[in-house]
């Protein structure tokens, strides 16, 4: 085995290479959803598709990338298919998780003629030819959600597969974006290939292989130590999503966590069967979400590798919302995953009260406008996720207005950029006062955003969630306020949480208010000082805001 110094040098190099790939991807991508919102992920893998290093990206993609490589290897009947200079794409939601918009692009890496690893990226393609622009919120079968790419060559031995690339771009409403983002992904993979090869040249394949085994063993040791500290037992929590799509039924989710020594099992038995709407996901996505939930509570500071999660088993019933099969629609692959993460944390709260946080409305809270853009003469798609209030925890109020669990470094969309690019105006963007759950520590606030449409032919699609199970409180804390959306097309506001391509003629207003986080601890223990500060700064509104506000907000 190589000495601990070499192991550490190689470990750091893996994460550094992933960062370099990520810089490259984010800075040369075409669509804001990648460069601005960082709806992407980057990883470096060994020849067995085990993670070596990754860069900060969208946490919910954690573990999706390795599935893309594994299913490709399986599809082609073995690793013999890989040649230097190849690039592959795959987006089949049942196999690789998330939805069809998220396309994995990866390339094999060779050293001395031998396959030694893979560089992989996943990024959200803005339009892949679904029945509606960008994405449909009311699909009932996966075939309505755009093209489904089985493991496919984009490059073969260094030569572009122009027919395939042409097919992918020509079947998109936004061919230019697809082309640009695909090439940004390929460029990132090429950067990773060069750097991984340099590492192999320096240390030799044998040493790197042995170092990798040791790095994995280190991660596994840390994970097992952390889980062993919990009392053995069965921990459960359950909740319910509002609906599986516009007009759909509620979707129950049940989480059972079993701790036995240093092993943990997360079982989703008792959760909803796969839904007739678009809220479903493949098992790969469920595993990915479970890993994220686990990582929030166990060794969050330690970088993830192929050795992490070896003591975590994830089970979901076949043909459930967590292990959907053809032809289930998968556009909204996340709401039940977000609730699962939230429930996992709640289930373990009694066992680790200082590490957990109270509930949050853990969903993307999407709003998307499409229509003709008078500025360019082309069709526009302006979609964004809206931040939510986070749950409070021991010792601190919840964080206000932050992208939910799965979203990480996903950024909001600047008002000035939206108004410059699209026929939209935003009248208000602010914290939603009073939306945090009360408690010794208060839940964080959701946000409020008010849009006006400025052109004709515009439609809005909406996906807001978690009003049946809002961000709950813990240990006596109160729940946060649920989301609310008002659409006013000229005949007065009406409440609509989910909608697909609702017509919003020029002058219509849409006001979205996202939910707040739950409180932590008994509200009667909240300090007077904290209550006074909340009033002065206007975080709560229950008592009239007396002195300071003056000219605020009237």
């Amino acid at each position: 085995m190589p000495d601990p110094v070499t192991v550490e040098v190689i470990r750091n190099a893996f994460n550094s290479i992933a960062s370099q790939m990520n810089n490259n991807l984010a800075r040369s991508a075409y669509t804001p959803i990648i460069y601005e919102m960082k709806d992407c992920s980057v990883g470096l893998f060994d020849a067995d598709a085990r993670l070596l290093g990754q860069a900060p990206g969208l946490p919910i993609f954690l573990g999706n990338l390795e599935a893309a490589i594994e299913v490709t290897t399986e599809h082609f009947g073995g690793t013999h298919v890989y040649q230097p200079g190849d690039v592959y794409a795959v987006n089949d939601a049942y196999l690789t998780g998330s939805h069809l918009n998220d396309v994995s692009v990866f390339s094999p890496v060779f050293h001395d003629g031998e396959l030694v690893g893979f560089c992989a990226t996943k990024a959200h393609w803005l339009d892949i030819g679904a029945k509606d622009p960008s994405q449909a919120m009311d699909s009932t079968e996966i075939y309505q959600e755009g093209y489904r790419i089985a493991p496919t060559h984009l490059y073969r031995a260094g030569e572009p597969c122009t027919e395939t690339i042409e097919f992918l771009t020509r079947n998109s409403r936004l061919p230019r974006s697809i082309w640009g983002d695909m090439h940004a992904q390929i460029a990132a993979c090429r950067t990773g290939e060069q750097q991984l090869q340099a590492l192999y040249n320096r240390f030799g394949a044998q040493t790197v292989r042995e170092a990798v085994a040791e790095i994995f063993a280190q991660c596994e040791r840390l994970d097992r130590e952390a889980v062993r500290r919990l009392p053995d037992g069965v921990y459960t929590a359950e909740g319910e999503l509002d609906s599986h799509g516009p007009g759909g039924d509620p979707v129950p989710v049940k989480v059972t966590v079993t701790v036995e020594g240093d092993e943990m099992t997360l079982d989703l038995a008792g959760s909803s069967p796969q839904t007739p709407g678009c809220m479903n996901c493949g098992l790969a996505q469920t595993i990915s979400g479970a890993r994220l939930a686990y990582k929030f509570l166990f060794n969050p500071d330690v970088p993830v590798t192929g050795g992490t999660f070896r003591n975590l088993t994830v089970k979901a019933p076949e043909r459930s919302v967590f292990d959907a099969r053809e032809p289930a629609a998968c556009q909204y692959y996340y709401p039940h995953i977000g609730l699962m993460i939230d429930l996992f944390i709640r289930a373990l709260a009694p066992a680790m009260p200082d590490a957990v946080v109270a509930g949050q409305p853990a969903d993307a809270m999407n709003i998307m406008f499409t229509g003709p853009n008078p500025r360019t003469g082309e069709r526009f798609v302006c979609g964004e996720s809206t931040a939510v209030g986070w749950g409070a925890r021991a010792g601190s109020d919840g964080t206000d207005a932050l992208a939910n669990y799965g979203a990480g470094d996903l950024k909001n969309f600047p008002v000035e950029v939206i108004e410059s690019l699209y026929p939209l105006r935003i009248h208000k963007y602010g914290l939603r006062e009073g939306s945090g759950g009360d408690g010794e520590f208060r839940g964080g606030l959701g946000v409020e955003r008010e849009y006006e449409t400025l052109g004709d032919g515009i439609t809005v699609s909406l996906w807001f969630e978690r009003t049946r199970t809002p961000g709950w409180g813990l240990f006596g804390g109160e729940p946060g306020a649920p989301a609310s959306v008002e659409v006013d097309t000229g005949d007065g506001p009406r409440e609509v949480l989910k909608a697909n391509r609702l017509a919003v003629p020029a002058g219509s207003r849409v006001v979205v208010r996202t939910g707040g986080g739950g409180g932590y601890g008994d509200p009667s223990n909240r300090s007077d000082e904290a209550r006074e500060r909340d009033l002065i700064d206007g975080y709560v509104t229950t008592t009239p805001v007396a002195t300071a506000a003056g000219t605020h907000g009237e």
């Binding site: 000495d3 490259n24 931040a387 669990y405 470094d409 003056g550």
Partner: protein, 672 residues
């Protein structure tokens, strides 16, 4: 005879360097005096033995603004925003860079919510007035602002498209509350993205009264001593500006101190005729990397400090937590080094200040690269035995002996630093092998050659007098102003008349600023540029052109130049794709007069001051130790050898040799 003076305030010492018209250098140091920084500056100046009345130029790197910002001692700021947008500043970008941190909180804003006021007004994206400014509301608020706050930041939506409302508020407040520092976003950063522009304006207002007070006090005390020349201040962008201009643009002084090192590297590059340098500054707790390309420091249009973004051009400095004080420890059977540092107290074990955990410096001591006699900082007698014992204890947990553990610590630290360099070069399409590595800071020259080996860099440069390098560098900086205007258009739609008018306006403003700075017309240089991207992309690449080029030619070539720049930076491009312009820029430079610098006399390699056992590449070597000041011009010191000077030690491993070049600079190259 006239001297020009450079003064840099460090955490411990304030450094002063004076250069005479004929290239003679005098240096002095005085303890820094937190709380009254001007005192340390005046002490250091007094130590030079140069008559203040004869100075013809004073360039200052001030940390007054930066310290206030970092220590959160800035002004109480009121933020005035467009009605409906009170929380733009508090919300920021709503993102969580720490992927797995469920307890994440963004940096606390500098202005709490209670101090944010919504004003009735609104511009559209194209700069038309949608809602008129409620002047009465502003007047009514003025008394309260005057009584409660020290500074005001005014940030209205789309003010880059039409600044009228911001300017009107500034005028009203000038009447109603004339003593209040008022910063308008359009003056600070006329670029879109309301959160980043707000953050920039708030930081400006936050440090404005402090910078103004500090520079005012320093200047008046210098005048009392007979100083008759111009006080200039180092800027974050690597240029200098006069003190009055700095008072108006306080945010530009934020990195005034830290950029001094990079600016010095630019001058060393010129001196040695090297056009590409990777500059590394390794101290006790951090490792800073910056780049000099084509003889210029790499300047980025924005920076982020303590989680607060600022749209202000700054020399790009990439920092990682690796330094001499970085602590080595064992986790899950693995050897980890840093980013935690033992700092100055308790410091490395060998400092005898109570440190018990082994650090990178202790490993250097065990390996003999830092001889016990090095006396870091002048009066420190290093405890070699205690350093060795601490490293031995660490090694036992890993099955490594003392020597292997010491080499291991250095290897892990070197690899982390090399990764930091790769992250600012390779991912931007830059090959580090085309560069020379310039190292400074207390620990830089000890590790420089090892880093060069790791990155396959052929040449290492150690500047002379590294202890006062920043102060020296400032003396060689050009006056610089970066002007920007949001200008959103497709390149295909741009007409020569529009381009000429817009660039002409920016150039005129640049020329006026240079005039205010006392720059002679013949020393002025105006460099136009545009921030470009493919239609639909967001991040831009800045493409500059020659000021003399005909606008029609510029437009004709812009797309092609952008294609080439994109290819160089990202490794791919999309020729034939429409290109958009987001901002127009002009960099206004006032070229500083270059002085020929006197260096050491030619000499021969004499007897070493001492000999030491030093460990390199797996074996012990009997290495000579030279005092740097005894080495004459063109002297060659073959490795293995150690070169000692106050506060800095250079290791020359076997297979490399150091040659003394211009101004006593050591150039270390691989031997054939």
């Amino acid at each position: 005879m006239g001297f020009r003076l450079g003064v840099d305030i460090g955490g411990t010492f304030t450094d002063a360097v004076a250069i005479s018209d004929d290239g003679r250098e005098v240096t002095a140091k005085a303890p820094s005096t937190p709380g009254n920084l001007a005192k340390g500056v005046l002490d250091a100046v007094a130590g030079l033995g140069v008559d203040v009345r004869e100075l013809d130029g004073f360039v200052h790197g001030t940390t007054a603004g930066l310290n206030a910002f970092l220590e959160r001692r800035g002004a109480r700021v009121a933020l005035l925003t467009t009605r409906g947008f009170r929380d733009v500043y508090a919300i920021g970008r709503a993102s969580r860079p720490a992927m797995y941190d469920v307890r994440y909180r963004p940096a606390e804003p500098l202005v709490p919510r209670r101090d944010v006021f919504e004003i009735t007004e609104r511009m559209t994206a194209s700069g038309e007035v949608l809602t008129a400014l409620d002047e009465a509301q502003v007047r009514a608020l003025a008394a309260r602002l005057r009584d409660t706050y020290e500074a005001v930041a005014v940030v209205f939506l789309h003010s880059y498209a039409n600044p009228a409302h911001e300017e009107r508020v500034k005028a009203i407040l000038a009447e109603e509350a004339p003593d209040l520092a008022v910063m308008c976003s359009v003056d600070v950063a006329p670029e879109w993205r309301e959160y980043e522009r707000t953050s920039t304006t708030v930081v400006s207002a936050y440090v404005a009264p402090i910078v103004k007070e500090y520079l005012g006090r320093l200047e008046s005390q210098l005048r009392e001593r007979g100083f008759a020349s111009t006080l200039r201040v180092m800027q974050s962008n690597g240029g200098v500006m006069t003190a009055p201009v700095a008072t108006d643009k306080p945010i530009q002084t934020l990195l005034s101190g830290p950029v001094g090192g990079t600016v010095a590297c630019v001058e060393v590059a010129r001196l040695l005729d090297l056009d590409r340098l990777i500059c590394v500054d390794m101290g006790g707790t951090s490792f800073d990397v910056s780049l000099v390309i084509n003889g210029r420091a790499t300047v980025e249009p924005s920076l982020t400090l303590e989680g607060q973004p600022m749209l202000t051009p700054a020399v790009a400095i990439h920092t990682v937590g690796a330094g001499g004080g970085s602590v080595a420890y064992v986790e899950a059977g693995a050897l980890r080094v840093g980013p935690r540092s033992a700092g100055a107290v308790p410091g490395p074990v060998c400092y005898r200040r109570g440190g018990t955990e082994p650090t990178v410096t202790d490993a250097n001591v065990v390996l003999g690269r830092l001889p016990g006699s090095a006396r870091l900082g002048g009066d420190l007698d290093l405890d070699v035995e205690a350093a060795g014992a601490a490293i031995e204890r660490l090694g036992e947990q890993l099955g490594l002996d003392r020597l292997a553990a010491a080499n291991g610590i250095i290897a892990v630290a070197d690899a982390a630093m090399a990764n930091a360099i790769r992250e600012i070069t390779v991912s931007h399409g830059i090959d580090p092998r085309d560069f020379s590595l310039l190292a400074f800071g207390g620990a830089g020259p000890l590790h420089a050659v090892a880093l060069a080996e790791e990155l396959d860099i052929p040449r290492v440069v150690i500047p002379a007098n590294p202890g006062v390098l920043s102060a020296w560098g400032m003396l060689h900086s050009d006056t610089r102003h970066d002007l920007v205007q949001n200008y959103f258009t497709k390149v295909a739609d741009l007409t020569p008349e529009q381009l000429e008018a817009a660039i002409g306006e920016l150039s005129e403003r640049g020329r006026q600023l240079l005039e205010q700075d006392g720059v002679e017309p013949e020393a002025m240089e105006l460099v136009p540029a545009a921030d470009l991207r493919y239609a639909g992309q967001e991040y831009t690449v800045t493409v500059a052109w020659d000021a003399g080029e005909a606008p029609a030619d510029t437009i004709a070539r812009l797309t092609e130049r952008f294609d080439a720049a994109h290819l160089e930076r990202y490794g791919h491009n999309n020729e034939g794709e429409a290109v958009e312009c987001v901002n127009l820029r002009v960099t206004a430079l006032g070229r500083v007069k270059k002085v020929e610098i006197a260096g050491p006399e030619p000499g021969t390699l004499g007897e070493p001051a001492a000999r030491t056992r030093a460990h390199f590449k797996g074996e012990w070597h009997d290495a000579p130790v030279y005092r740097r000041e005894t080495l004459g011009l063109d002297v060659v010191v073959p490795g293995p050898a150690i070169v000692l000077e106050d506060a800095c030690t250079t290791a020359v491993p076997p297979g490399w040799a150091a040659r003394v070049a211009a101004r006593g600079t050591l150039v270390i190259e691989r031997q054939q």
